[in-house]
């Protein structure tokens, strides 16, 4: 299986922020969610993959080529926060600008995608809602033969229906088995059902990179009565919530299953992220890559 992204020992050191050395792999035909709190380094990581920020150490190969290789440009589609569109442009004009910039840009395909996503053709870019702007950018990113889509927080501020539409588009994109998506978000509820792989960033450190199911299976949601809240449980607990009627927390699976008199359940991605971000011990108990 080809890796569309293969990163080894990548380190990025900026003036006031650093991504500590990490490995990352994304095979063809899958969706990877890049998750973590605001400021964790998700955008820096994406920029490093695009060659927009220099790496201080390590190797990056995107689509089997060194990063920022011009031959890979058309094969990588991006939806980032900044756009280079003129604010007064209309969708068809934006399409023609893309066609000028990307040889082989599929303009009819782009117009069909706009239609499917209900992007108005007579509205100036600056007047479009944020959701429509993102749909427009996605339509363009999917119309120049890209095999890899990189999206930076595309769903922030969008209504539920638009977010669902975007997720369906991403699933269509990978349906052929030879293209992949890397989507960064701090709204994990959007992606938790459809992502195959997960990369979890916390304060510039990649805490986990691998299959989503493996990440989730390493923890349990635990609830118990006050009597069961021993010092050992406190030590291991992430996102501990103590109330007058008992306690709940996320625990590593081995610790959870060793307890008696508590209820254990699988933990969802959203709940796990909250617990990991809150859990004071998160920095010491990092999940192995």
């Amino acid at each position: 299986m080809t890796d569309l992204i293969a990163v080894q020992g990548l380190e990025v050191v900026r003036r006031d922020f650093a991504l500590r050395p990490f490995d990352l792999r994304l095979p063809a035909g899958y969706i990877m969610g890049l998750v973590g709190a605001n400021g964790a380094g998700k955008t820096t990581l994406l920029k490093a993959l695009l060659g927009l920020v220099p790496a201080s150490a390590g190797r990056i190969a995107v689509l089997g080529r060194p990063v920022a290789d011009p031959s890979a440009r058309a094969a990588i589609g991006v939806v980032l926060d900044q756009t280079l569109f003129g604010e007064t442009w209309l969708a068809p004009e934006i399409g023609r600008a893309y066609a000028a910039g990307y040889p082989g840009f599929d303009l009819p395909g782009f117009m069909r995608r706009l239609d499917r996503l209900a992007v108005p053709l007579k509205t100036r870019f600056q007047r479009m809602s944020r959701g429509t702007k993102v749909k427009l950018q996605l339509a363009a990113a999917m119309s120049h033969g890209a095999k890899l889509l990189l999206l930076d927080e595309p769903t922030a501020g969008l209504d539920a229906a638009t977010r669902a539409d975007l997720m369906s588009e991403l699933q269509d994109f990978i349906a052929g088995g030879d293209a992949s998506v890397l989507i960064s978000t701090h709204i994990t509820a959007d992606i938790e059902d459809i992502v195959d792989y997960l990369a979890y960033l916390n304060h510039g450190q990649l805490r986990f990179a691998g299959e989503r199911d493996e990440f989730l299976a390493a923890y349990r949601q635990v609830a118990g009565g006050s009597a069961s809240l021993t010092p050992e449980v406190r030590e291991a607990a992430l996102g501990l919530s103590e109330t007058a009627v008992g306690w709940t927390a996320v625990l590593p699976v081995d610790a959870a299953e060793a307890l008696e008199g508590v209820t254990c359940a699988p933990v969802g991605l959203d709940a796990l992220m909250v617990a990991l971000e809150r859990g004071g011990q998160a920095n010491e108990n990092s999940v192995e890559n």
Binding site: G29, I31, Q171, D172, A175, R212
Partner: protein, 128 residues
Amino acid sequence: MDITISNQAGSPIYEQIEDQIKAAILTGAVAAGTQLPSIRALARDLHISVITTTRAYRELEAAGFIDTVPGKGAFVRAQDPALIHEQGLARVEAHLQAAIDDAALARVPAATLHEMLDDLLKAGDDHD
């Protein structure tokens, strides 16, 4: 073939898919040789990850329900009727044993247990 999954069902999604396809095959709702949806089409239709559908199909193949042909897809494997019957018997026996264990906990005597079984069977006949 219809497959319905639920995030609230309590069992993992891949297991729900597995169980429904298994049931469809065992009841004959899908004939041997029928082609199943592709792993990727199924993931897209159910709005779940490709790895999840892959796992469901892998488990089904390991359990002898389907065959996956590289480049072609997944197909229902012909089932052995004697084996299916045996598996059905084993499931009934397991349920009966569970009822016996519960009866012991609730101090329900054997004669009452037999009565309950006969009543339920009769009620089942009345509904048919």
